[in-house]
């Protein structure tokens, strides 16, 4: 079943200026629910820009994106925020954990605007940290974590609102091979939960992994190949 439908999407930066850059150039594709899809391509190929568009973090210059048939790109900001908050969980390349807050507080953060009681939120966050084998670091400050630990915390944070889609941008960029394999095991677990996972990566460990259902190759903002 198609979860996300992308129709001739373009994303142009600095439009009309001398440094105009077309990051995504007329991409059309369908993301199937429950699959792990990898967007691969060299640096500057438009992976991260397309990922941001898929997750509703950026708006296209032209083209439309539908989520379960509902048009996403025209939504006024507060509606888009609501969809983004409840549908997508994001794992960023630099993790973007908030320094000074504890691991538990970082994981709870995206759910705070939803008004869930704090005790319930803490229970959910603790369960996620336990599941990702990082529960013993719940009270540690985010700035004391190693790269692998920070990655797990970032994944727990992405899962706190129980999203159907996990979006990860170069998730292995700061991990060694062992930690990258551990990450892929986590991705397999998310897939087994029925979640859709979309990853942007140029790491062969990721796009050649068995858990990946589909690889979309990008170059110069265009789809070069789409393979299963």
């Amino acid at each position: 079943m198609t979860l996300i439908e992308v129709e001739r999407v373009r994303r142009v930066f600095h439009q009309g200026r001398p440094d105009e850059l077309t990051a995504v150039d007329g991409v059309s594709l369908s993301i199937v629910a429950g699959e792990v899809t990898v967007l691969r391509g060299p640096s500057g190929s438009g992976k991260s820009s397309l990922l941001a568009l898929l997750g509703g973090m950026a708006r296209p210059t032209s083209g439309r994106i539908h989520l379960e048939g509902r048009e996403l790109t025209s939504l006024p900001e507060r509606f888009l925020t609501e969809v983004r908050r409840r549908t997508f969980g994001f794992v960023f390349q630099q993790f973007h954990l908030v320094r000074g807050l504890t691991v538990l507080e970082n994981v709870m953060l995206p759910a705070t605007p939803l008004g869930v009681p704090r005790a319930e939120l803490a229970r959910r966050a603790t369960a996620l940290l336990e599941r990702l084998a990082i529960g013993h670091r719940a009270r540690a400050r985010a700035d004391w974590l190693s790269g692998g630990e920070a990655q797990r915390v970032a994944i727990a944070r992405a899962l706190i609102n129980d999203p159907r889609v996990i979006i990860a941008d170069e998730p292995t960029a700061h991990l060694d091979s062992r930690l990258s394999m551990e990450l892929l095991e986590i991705v397999a677990g998310l897939k087994a939960d029925g979640r859709t996972v979309i990853v942007a990566s140029h790491d062969p460990l990721v796009y050649l992994a068995g858990v990946v259902d589909r690889t979309v190759s990008l170059r110069d903002g265009r789809v070069e190949a789409d393979s299963r």
């Binding site: 129709e7 001739r8 999407v9 373009r10 708006r59 296209p60 210059t61 032209s62 083209g63 439309r64 048009e71 790109t73 025209s74 939504l75 006024p76 900001e77 507060r78 509606f79």
Partner: protein
Amino acid sequence: MIVNPAVMALVGGSALGGALLVAAAAQGVAVLRGWDLSSGSERQLALERRTYLVSTLLGFTLAFELLSLFLFVFTADALAPQFTGAMCAAGSLKASPYGYPVLLLKLANAVLAGLWLVLNHADQQGYDYPLIRVKYAALLGLAPPALAEVALQGAYFAGLRPEVITSCCGSLFGEGGRGLGADLASLPPAQAGAALAVVLAAALGAALRFRLTGRGAVLAGLLAAAALPAGLVAVVSAISLYVYELPTHHCPFCLLQREYGHLGYPLYGALLLGSVAGTGVALLHPFRRVPSLAAALPALQRRLATTALVGLGAFAALSAWKVLASGLRL
């Protein structure tokens, strides 16, 4: 021209607001000509992005338009000592041929701005810009009087000369005088008061009925709209007499002064708020079946009805209190 901070704020604010309105009107024309939500074209997406910004800026501009009515009256009142013969804003406004036209235009624009803000707020409750064409068409209708106000207000302040001899409120709102003020002052207070009581009771009743049952939105809106002129007429012909405790002093502006506890501001503010909010109930009614508004609009209409009840109720209570507590008996 008399220059003081309030005059500068009014002239500067309305010039800025006028410029924003012109820009927004241009966006309005583009929306009316080319809006197509089913299209993913670059032009459509640019319109969607811009309309969000324009609506936000217009919200502030038109909120200023509402507030500037009171700032204008306050400024006219504060300028009164500069003119020979002026005792309050009534004389200051008479010191230039543009004074009263500006006041009436500002009042009309404040009502229109309030209604546009209601429309804009309703539009923002839907995920698919359900009222975008309506609100931009309304904006195109609102822009010319707003720009006329900018010009007339500028001409009013530019034409003020301190040496001008003007009329005091006693002659402008005297029963034997000429003009609209004198005509209103000549109305029999008992009848004007009774008419206000009937209109207010009907408007409050209709707003309450809508609040409780969801029925009678149009009637509630029409009666709330009628409450504004009825209230203003009654203030001049009847309520002011009880406030001043003088059977011949009908000025609607002296109410703004310290001697009378600045009563005019809450009195007129409550009337304007109640009337605009109540009219908004009817304004939104034709759109209650728009799919993306079906869930949000009834609740918004109920909140507007509540606001109308509060505004008109406060106006009625303040008026009744002043009449009952007054030492004057007619």
